[in-house]
């Protein structure tokens, strides 16, 4: 493996990890409010979050490109206030990965939050626990399995994302190229052996993610 391949692997892993770190707090807040609270516009938000799951990834990428481009409403704001260029930078990679993996996390976390018996939370309140303590000592630990599974699903999805990434981040070697994108261009340029090697790397990463999930989900020994 060349230095370039190592860089590719390291970059893809880092981007997926960053996107997962972004998905986790946002996704938890979303999953909790979808599972527990009653509010107006809930159905709309639910649909919006799930949209990247059913839309072709390229379409999601196109929407992101237009939103976050220099002249797009969000991109313009970010450039003016923070001086951020998003499109065709590593920020766009993280954005694309996060948007694509968010629904997977929200679905898994939401289902497990709904399973938590509200009586246990209410009982904790009668014992004097405030809302944050209830959340961190009762709700989240009881929904632990779904949250871990959702995190791993999101991470694995981020590792393999292609369509949306190529639309918003393009293929700038060393700057925005991720593993799947590199595989695609290797085949395109007729470098089949490199494509196979990268595919092998990709599969190894995926297996590692599954293995780690199973380790974490194993029931604690008594």
């Amino acid at each position: 493996m060349s230095a370039e391949d190592w860089q590719l692997l390291w970059f893809t892993g880092r981007m997926a990890a960053l996107s997962t770190c972004l998905v986790l707090p946002v996704g938890l807040a979303l999953a909790w409010s979808l599972a527990r609270a009653r509010w107006r516009g809930k159905a709309l938000v639910e649909a919006l979050v799930s949209l990247p799951l059913v839309l072709p990834p390229v379409v999601t990428g196109l929407v992101l490109l237009k939103l976050f481009g220099r002249r797009g409403p969000l991109g313009h704001w970010l450039y003016q206030h923070l001086g951020w260029e998003v499109v065709f930078t590593w920020k766009a990679v993280v954005l694309a990965l996060a948007v694509m993996s968010l629904p997977l996390f929200v679905w898994a976390a939401r289902a497990s939050l709904q399973e938590v018996n509200p009586l246990l939370e209410q009982l904790a309140r009668t014992l004097g626990a405030g809302e944050w303590r209830v959340l961190f000592t009762i709700t989240l630990p009881l929904a632990r399995r779904g949250i871990i599974a959702g995190t791993m699903l999101a991470f694995a999805r981020a590792l393999g994302e292609f369509g949306a990434t190529i639309m918003v981040a393009g293929n700038i070697p060393g700057q925005t190229t991720t593993l799947p994108v590199a595989i695609y261009y290797s085949v395109e340029l007729g470098k089949d052996s490199r494509a196979w090697m990268l595919a092998g790397l990709s599969a190894t990463l995926a297996f590692l993610a599954i293995w780690a999930t199973q380790r974490l989900l194993r029931r604690p020994k008594r």
Binding site: N117, L119, L120, Q122, L123, A124, R125, T126, L127, G128, A129, G130, R133, T137, I138, P141, L142, R144, R222
Partner: protein
Amino acid sequence: MNHGLRASFVKRFDDAVVIEICGLALGPDPEVTVLFGPSGCGKTTVLRCLAGLERPDEGTILFGEEVWFASAGRRPLPPQRRKVGFVPQDYALFPHLSVERNIGYGLYGLPAGERRGRVAEAMRWLGLEGLEGRRPGALSGGQQQRAALARALVVRPRLLLLDEPLCALDAPARLRVRNQLRRMLRRLSIPTLLVTHDRADALALGDTLWVMNQGKLLQHGLAHEVFSRPANLEAAAIVAIETVQPGRVLKTAGGLATVAVGAATLTALPLDLETAAEEVYVCIRAEEVILVKGPSVPSSARNCLAGTVCSLAREGPMVRVGLDCGFPLAALLTPQACEEMFLHQGDAVSALIKAPHIHLIPRPD
């Protein structure tokens, strides 16, 4: 000054079920008050409203000087600040925490040493030593109940709310745990409100008792009083008095009333003067009826009714005997008594009932 708990409130549900609690009061004394009624009559909702887990639609809940709930636009006091020990029907132990951490959950914020001391004390007190590290799922029903009780008690609540504490136990454990629970509740000096639909539990555990049906409180009194002297027909049905028959007061003299029931005439203690009515219901508890085979013998019981045995049916550890004494009458005997008397269907017997055991309820025309 502490006046204990006073609650009057209304709670409505979407499907038109209404809970209307009027004048529920728990004295400041550490006694056990039972809320007795059939399943689904709203007992649990009452407890949840008192614990602050459910918000009534109107009314007030006061505890001493504190306002827990007042419908006049004020925010109810949240459950965190009511300092109430709540033990729900299935105990709701935290499944992911050890027994020790379950019990210590409410002691958050105390120094670790004091917390450990209080948890250990509660575990010793409730006989849970050696189970510190277990998960709730690995405990028996009785142990779970005691762990839930310990968790509620370590925080030194001002009021204890128990929802069907014996319901989740099987029959053999139930009797043993009932006795344990009674001893514990006697030793605690915390006013307790206990919900049950079981008469034996209510009598064993309660000092005073409220009868509840279809969302309303019907009667309040000493537990055994309410069971033998229900105030009206609805309460008589809830406390399951075996014989309830319409009758008519013929005369009252010398502190006794003569009542005609069916073809028989009974002597009973009369009603209060203010509710004196001619038309009454006659209530007789089956276990107060004594049977004598053959013709009557002289006895101190004021009522001696000749009758025939119509039916014999096993009812738990007892036998329920259906009689025709000019009106249908039920008696509850031990199987041994039935055997020794060679009691069979069609036998002629005499039923003896003391006058104070015949309770009269006014009957609206």
